[in-house]
Structures are given as C-alpha cells and as structure tokens.
Symmetry: C2
Subunit: 228 residues, 2 copies
C-alpha cells in the first residue's frame, strides 16, 4: 500500500470496536490526515464505546474528531441494543437471519452524516469498517448497499468532487482482520466489542463471541479480559 | 387520485413549510394513515417551524409524530441557515448556483432517519416535499438523488418489503403547488417559510421571496403577514 501526502483528508467512522480500529490503523498506515467521527445512539455500551473512541484517537494522534448523538435511534426503538424491552441474545444468530441487535438503517444514517461532515471539511473519502460476511447478517453491511449509498451521496452533494466510500474490510473474515490489524500495530486492547456496557467484556453476547473467535482463529493471543 | 384503506401507513416529512404542508394534504386526501416526522437542526427559524409542524399535525389529526433533534448539522456548520458567521442572503441566488443556505446532504440524512422509523413502525412509503425546479438549486432535491436514495434504503433494510420514496411535487413549480394545495384545503396560514425566526415572515429572504411569488403567480391571495 502506497503512502499518500499527509495533506489528503479522510473521514473515518470509529465505533470503538475491532473493525473500525483496524480501519483507523489502515488509514493511518496509508498516511491520510484523519478526521474521526463516532456515533452514540444510547446503546447499552455507549460509555465504553466512547472511551474506546477517545483512546484510539489519542493513540493515532487524531485531533479532528466529533462524537454525534443519535438518540433518535433509541427513541424509535426496534433493536435489542437500544430497546430495554428486547433482551440482548446470548448466542450467535443463524446465518441469513437478521439479528435482534440490528438497528434499522444505522449505517445509512451514519454514512449520511459522515458525508455531510466530509463536505464541510473537504474530505474526499469516508472509511468505514463494515464487514459483509462472517460478522453480521445486517443488510446495511452489504457491498451492494455501500455502493448504492455512495451513488446517492454523490448525487446529493455539491458536484465539485466525488466522495468515495472505502470499506477495506468488507470481504474479509474476522480472523483476517485481526491478522492485518496486528501487523499494522492496531491496539486492540483499547477497543470495545461487548453489547453490554459493564466494566469488562461479558464474553457471552454475540459481539464477544465473535471477538473471541477472531483471535482464536487468527492464532493470536486475545488481550481482552472477559467476565467469563 | 384513488383513496386507500385507512390502514395503509406512511411517513411524511413535515418541515412546516408550504411544500411539506401540501404533501401532508396530499397524503391525507389519499386516505393514508399518517406518521409525521420533523427535523430541527438548530436553524434560525427552528421554533417557528416546530410550531408550524405541530399546528399542521393538529389540523390533519396526526397523532403519531416525532420531532428529531439534528444539532449535529449546526455543529459541523457550513450553511447560512445554521452558522451565525454566514449571513442569510437577501436575494434569490442565480440559477445553477448552489445557495449559501444549502445544508450539506440534509435530505439524505432526513430520508435515512425517516427510513429507519418507517421500518420500525411498518410504513411502506415515505412522502417528501422536495421540489427539483424553481425553488432550490440544492443537489439533494433532484429526482436522480431521490431515486438513488430509495435504492440505497432498500438495499440497507430488512428485505421483507420495499420502501417507496414518494415525492409528488418534484417536477412542479411553486405556483402549481399552491394551486393544488388550495384545492385540497391545505391551511397555508399555519405554515412557516422565512429563514429568520422572528415573529412575522421577513418578506425579503430567499424563502419569503419564493413564498410571495408562489401566491402571486398562482393568482391566490397570500394569507401571510410580512414585516415588509
């Protein structure tokens, strides 16, 4: 991967999880000047995720950062991540089933907001850590969606410059992502995956299960301290 | 236009201006059960617009409504509507020029959020009052953008049902919109257009100029009280 002049600005969506941390590591490695955006939607783990976002920005020396409040998503409900009346499941969903933790059109809303910010600050790329296979089953993680969203964004913006949505992990499996990240020195110990917002990772929710599996399949020691 | 069974639910984006009031009138005339969504992005006229939204919902008996805070857009800046360092212009912009009052990708963000809500409540249509010609010059008011956004939304949602974005005014001129609205009994006296948030419409900003022109060209008495 060729390094770029430091002046080229990109927006990176950083949730604070492993995937977005890896994307941040890739953007930093490529030499981009980085503007980081984080979204809080009143999900159970919001404090832990914000803490991870701040720690990752500090690690990569990202000065231009915003944390956006999307409480709207908890107001409208519909997901186990934000709606207290729906329990977070303990197991991974069956393939092809849309999980209870799906937040309706979350990536569409986040990419739209990132596109608005990119236009204001003059960034020509948005880096997102969506993964089509392996980790999700969410319809807004598919490459076809990302491409359609990129087209919509470009039709809906000032025409001077094209905005690209870069999803470098989209066709990777979790274990491959970890291997790339470790090679690039991504500080996974600073990231947060657990759907619950307790002091330590629960070790049992779908996100913790995928986290464990990723390190285990990659054959890399897991730096995470789990409750069990 | 054929009336529908009252059970068919749609989401209507209602800013409180003339166009969205007309769309609300059209959806009510068609017999939809209506869920109304309003967006506040800390624009100068936010209180007046919210007041107009509430009054229009009361008029049409809309019980299911939400007002969403998008302060994010004023945080990122970039528009005369939200950024106090950019003055609202007094005249209409030249054709093909993007006005200072353009808020980056505003419609993209609003449609994304409306799509999330539509999914949660089971609505299959989103009605928006965007107008391609005559009133704007905003890239996110073009039909090509609305179509692209519709495609992205459908790729990014649960696959059970297709969501349509209905933009009944998109190819109309402002005067035609007013004529249709008056025929349908739309209460324009309850709407708000002015970019400033003072007690009365200023009569001079681009939005007031278009409002005046619409009534004048339609040959319909303007119910608005202007400052001058």
């Amino acid at each position: 991967m060729a390094r770029l002049p430091k002046s080229e600005l990109c927006v990176v969506l950083v949730s604070g999880g492993m995937d977005s941390a890896t994307v941040l590591g890739i953007a930093a490695f490529l030499g981009y000047s980085i503007a980081a955006i984080h979204f809080n939607y009143n999900q159970r783990s919001k404090d832990k995720e914000l803490q991870a976002f701040d720690a990752l920005c500090d690690f990569y020396g990202v000065k231009r950062k915003i944390a956006v409040d999307m409480n709207f998503l908890s107001v409208i409900g519909g997901s186990a991540l934000t709606d207290d009346s729906i329990a977070v499941p303990d197991s991974l969903p069956e393939t092809s089933e849309i999980p209870l933790t799906y937040v309706p059109f979350r990536n569409g809303i986040m990419i739209s907001m990132a596109a608005a910010w990119a236009e204001v600050i003059g960034a020509k790329k948005i880096f997102v850590g969506v993964v089509e296979e392996d980790s999700s089953g969410y319809p807004d993680c598919r490459e076809s969606f990302i491409k359609a969203m990129e087209e919509a964004v470009n039709l809906g913006r000032k025409p001077e410059s094209e905005l690209r949505i870069v999803a470098p992990l989209i066709h990777l499996r979790k274990a491959q992502i970890v291997k790339i990240g470790v090679t690039l020195g991504v500080p996974y110990e600073l990231t947060w995956s657990c759907y619950h917002g307790r002091e330590r990772h629960c070790g049992k929710c779908p996100a913790c299960r995928l986290r464990r599996k990723a390190f285990s399949e990659a054959g890399i020691p897991d730096p995470t301290v789990y409750e069990q």
